[in-house]
């Protein structure tokens, strides 16, 4: 068996990024069209941007979820291989793939240039819940892999039941009551960074430059590198698909979705909304929060959600 040692995050000097301005973003795309994702899918938007940076020399290990339907035999949007695992075990699948590649290299059956990036792709249902244990194990073993979670804040593939990523007060198929979801969105970023992996970042497809720089940085590192992409979901969040980008931008500008990265033990916010837009501008675009505005405004809940966003940013010093 090849040994993957626990690696300390390498000290990353500030490298010169190839993505300095919008015009540096790719204008041709690697991910194939014709997938079964919904029109206006925020997760697919993030994935195609991510894939342009990762490149074709990659193997995707996909846990059950919406994106299971990316590759349905004989069709695939990827240029490389794809492995499908059960919901809880994508990082374990990635370990097997990584080990196999390492053995091939060891036996000189594959050159170092032919090596591939092993990428775990899961939704929030797996990342925040069922797959958390195997992710923790993979980080513990220092597995050299990239993890991309498309977070649409619910089990979207089966009709948007709530998950560990569902925000407080959101209506889902399993939180239909007067006040929506009673729980709170888990802080997966902090859970992951507590493992001290090489890299953790939050991204969103509607901030493509920030996203490209983070994937570029993740690609330059070794060890466990984990990315959470917030994925505005027209179907599950109930908004017109043309508003995917608008909803995503407001998630950042209201401070609901902080863009940040963890590297070398430090958390850095990469895009601080200095004049934060009130959270209700974000909430009112989405049917899952309609009960906060109709038939009458739920001032208590709106104030609570605003206070949580404010409290988060009050704690950010930079």
């Amino acid at each position: 068996m090849s040994k993957t040692q626990t690696k300390q995050a390498p000290v990353s000097e500030a490298k010169v990024t190839v993505y300095r301005r919008m015009k540096d973003l790719p204008s041709t795309h690697l991910l194939g069209s014709g997938t079964a994702m919904c029109a206006g899918c925020g997760g697919l938007e993030a994935l195609h941007e991510v894939y342009d940076v990762i490149g074709a020399k990659s193997i995707f290990v996909n846990a059950a979820g919406c994106m299971t339907l990316l590759s349905v035999y004989p069709f695939t949007p990827f240029r490389g291989s794809w492995l499908y695992t059960a919901m809880a075990s994508a990082p374990a699948g990635a370990q097997g793939v990584r080990d196999a590649l390492d053995i091939l290299k060891q036996k000189k059956l594959m050159s170092a240039e032919e090596d591939m990036e092993v990428v775990v792709l899961t939704g929030d249902g797996s990342a925040y819940g069922m797959g958390l244990s195997s992710t923790s194990g993979a980080m513990e073993r220092g597995l050299d892999f990239l993890y991309l979670c498309y977070d649409n804040e619910g089990y979207g593939n089966t009709g948007q039941q709530y998950s560990g990523a569902t925000p407080h007060a959101a209506r889902t198929a399993t939180s239909k009551g007067e006040h929506g979801f009673a729980g709170y969105k888990k802080d997966l970023f902090s859970i992951w960074t507590a493992h001290k992996p090489a890299y953790v970042a939050t991204v969103i497809g509607t901030e493509p430059l920030d996203l490209a720089r983070k994937i570029e940085k993740a690609k330059s590192l070794k060890g466990p590198r984990l990315i959470i992409a917030m994925a505005p979901c027209p179907t599950g969040w109930n908004f017109d698909p043309q508003h995917t980008v608008e909803v995503g931008r407001l998630a950042v500008r209201t401070g609901i979705w902080p863009l940040k990265e963890y590297v070398d033990g430090n958390v850095v916010h990469t895009k601080v909304p200095h004049e934060r837009v009130p959270v209700e501008e974000y909430l009112k675009l989405q049917g899952r929060f309609r009960h906060l505005f109709e038939p009458q405004r739920d001032e208590t809940m709106l104030a609570e959600i605003q206070a949580r966003a404010d409290a988060y940013w009050d704690g950010v010093t930079q």
Binding site: L25, G34, A36, D240, T244
Partner: protein
């Protein structure tokens, strides 16, 4: 037993419509099955739902092959083979179709002798699309002739309660208006005779020889084969670029298009791949100089057909 098949696109409320109709039958003391068909389909893709209702226990299961009533929420689905709108339809099947074309036109197009009814619903505004389900179910209830107006209203109130009272009221008014508009056609749909298992005749099977896995499930050695799937069929609105207004920005449209359906040539001119564009309209909403506009897919296709014929 009545067998009713719904055809629509994901997001048009056909699943809700089938539940409302099923519930209305239930209120009328029928035995009922209502089931949407789940698959890999997504918002915009063709979807199906089925309702069976009878006075006797229903032993039949699965998809409805020979419907008594076919409800089509979106007439652009009719020519789509995967939607199977005309599958198993015979002369006694009633077809209810949301279309601005007349029933006569549809009879001719489909070479169909039976009853066709149309519901002219304005579809130019996509926000209105979500009420098509209510309109269809209202008209269907009257065509079936066994569902009372108040049972339909009660079913809508029960099924849509979660959406809030405003949405219930809009759906109610749409459904009841459609119910009233079909007064002259009450009871057009007749229940099929339930077949007995004793009369079952198996289809003419063709036996195919067993092939080994290399032939029946070959490995794929090509990348990005998904382009063979024409998701452009999902589209009800079409984004059209005005190249004179396009200011060759940093390809906002191409970056934000989730489906990679917009490519930019070496001169910075974006081109939309209509074989794959699903019609989400993100590009229309995001284009900085507003150089992309949304047109009805049907109108665009009609125009293309006209250009092709001249």
């Amino acid at each position: 037993m009545f067998r009713i098949r719904f055809h629509g696109r994901g997001g048009q409320g056909m699943k809700a419509a089938s539940r409302i109709l099923g519930n209305a039958f239930f209120i009328e003391d029928y035995e009922v099955q209502d089931a949407p068909r789940y698959g890999a389909e997504r918002r915009g893709a063709p979807i199906f739902a089925y309702v069976r209702a009878g006075r006797e226990p229903i032993n039949e299961r699965g998809i409805i092959r020979h419907p008594d009533l076919v409800i089509v929420a979106d007439d652009s689905l009719v020519p789509v083979p995967g939607a199977g709108v005309m599958s198993g339809v015979d002369a006694r099947t009633v077809i209810l179709i949301n279309s601005e074309e007349s029933p006569q036109v549809w009879k001719q197009r489909l070479n169909f002798e039976g009853h066709v009814f149309t519901l002219p619903v304005e579809t130019a505004d996509r926000a209105e699309l979500r009420f098509i389900g209510a309109t269809c179910v209202g008209a269907a209830a009257r065509l079936l002739g066994v569902i009372k107006r108040e049972s339909l209203a009660e079913a809508i109130r029960q099924e849509l309660a979660d959406l809030g009272s405003d949405m219930v009221e809009i759906n109610l008014s749409k459904a009841l208006a459609a119910f009233d508009s079909m007064q002259a056609e009450e009871g057009r749909v007749t229940p099929a005779v339930t077949e007995s298992a004793a009369d079952y005749r198996p289809p003419d099977w063709i036996d195919l020889e067993f092939e080994d896995a290399r032939a029946s499930a070959p490995a794929i050695h090509a990348g990005a084969t998904s382009v063979e799937v024409r998701t452009g069929l999902w589209r009800t609105l079409r984004p059209v670029i005005d190249h004179d207004r396009c200011n060759r920005c940093w390809w906002v449209c191409s970056t934000f298009c989730p489906d990679g359906a917009i490519t930019v040539d070496s001169e910075g001119r974006p081109q939309i791949d209509y074989d794959h564009c699903k019609g989400c309209m993100i590009c229309v909403a995001q284009c900085p100089p507003h150089a992309i506009s949304a047109v009805s897919e049907q109108d665009a296709q009609a125009e293309e057909a006209e250009v092709a014929s001249t």
